[in-house]
Amino acid sequence: MTPIRNDASTRNDITPGIDFPADSEGWSVAGRTLRSRLIVGTGRYDTLEQMRDSLDASGADCVTVAVRRERLYDRQGQNILDFLDLDRYILLPNTAGCYTAADATRAARLGREILRSLGNPGADWVKLEVLGDSRTLLPDPAETVRACRELVDDGFSVLCYTSDCPVTAARLKEVGAASVMPAGSPIGSGQGLLNRNNLRIILEYLKSDDPDYPVIVDAGVGTASDVSEAFELGADGVLLNTAIAHARDPVRMARAMRHAALAGRDALLAGRIPKRLYGTASSPEEGVISSRPYGSAADG
C-alpha cells in the first residue's frame, strides 16, 4: 500500500494520484460493460409497478435482488420476476441478511441457480454482504473476507459490500473481489458520505496501479447530491435503493439520481477548481467605470 499524498491544502476535494479514464462507452465490472454507473435495488417499493417505473427512470442496467424462502408469491400473487425485463437488466443477487460466511455462500449459490435457470448474465455475479451487527448493519470484516475468498474460488464475480475501512477494502481486493463496494454510511440511513477521507484513501489504494479497478459506493445515499459527491470523489459506480424507494416520489427521485450520476462523473472528468481562501473576480478588473472606495482591509 502506498501512503496517501497529503496535498489537501490546495486540492482538498479530489483524490490525488489517480488518472481517471475518460468515459467512452460505459464502464466495466467483472468483464461486462455497463452503460449506467448506477446500480439500483429493487426492495422497499410500495408496489412492483412503482419499482418497475423507478428502475426505468434511473437508467440503470444492473439491479440487485434478494434470495428468500417462503412467500413465493406476495400478497397480490405477484412475483418480482414478472416486473423485471430480463433482456434489459443484469440481475445482481445479494446475500443480504446473512451473518456468517456459510450462510452468505449458500445464498449466493442459490441465487446463481435461479439466474442460470433464467438465462440472465448476472448468474455468476453476487453482491456479497455479510453483516456483523443488526442495528448498524455494518459488515463483519472477517466473515466477509472468508466468504469472498470462497466464492471467488467457486467461480463467482464478487461485488463486495464493506465498510469504509481502507485496510478491509484492500484485503477484499487481494482475495479477488471483482469490485469493492464501501458504504457511504449505514444501509438505509440516508446519511450520505460520512467519511470522505476514507473513501478517498480506498480509491487511492485500490486504483494506484490499477486505475480501472471498479470501486462502487454502496449504501447510505440519501439524495441526489450524495450520488454526485461519490462520483466527484472518483467512485466508478453508486449502488442505492432506499433513497429512491422511500422518496415521496420514487420515479422522480430515480430520475434525479440518474442526472446526479451524470453530473458528478462529468464534474470529476472536467476537473474542479481548487478551493481558495480569497475571492477571484470573474469580470475584468480594468475598465470599471466607478472608483474604488475601499482597498484591502489589511491596508488599514
Binding site: 440487485t64 428468500r68 424462502r69 413465493l72 412475483n79 420476476l81 445479494n94 449459490r109 442459490l110 441457480e113
Partner: protein, 67 residues
C-alpha cells in the same frame, strides 16, 4: 409416511419423491426457484433424479426485492 422439512416447516409425504414432483405442488414457475437439499444446491438438470426422503431438509427459494 415420511417427514421432510420445507423452508423450516415439517411436511408429511406418502413416499419419497423427486425434486421435480415436489415442485409440482408449488404454483411458481420452476425457473423462478432454486432448491437446496440438506444445504446443497440441486442443479435444475438434476431435478428428475434427486429424490427427497425421510428427514431431508429442503430450502425452496425465489427472488424478491432487495438492495
Amino acid at each position: 409416511m415420511i417427514r421432510i422439512t420445507v423452508n423450516g416447516k415439517p411436511i408429511e409425504l406418502d413416499a419419497p419423491m423427486t425434486v421435480e414432483r415436489l415442485l409440482d405442488s408449488v404454483e411458481v414457475p420452476p425457473n423462478y426457484l432454486a432448491v437446496e437439499v440438506n444445504a446443497h444446491v440441486v442443479p435444475r438438470e438434476r431435478y428428475t433424479d434427486v429424490t427427497v426422503g425421510d428427514g431431508d431438509e429442503i430450502e425452496l427459494v425465489t427472488l424478491v426485492g432487495g438492495g
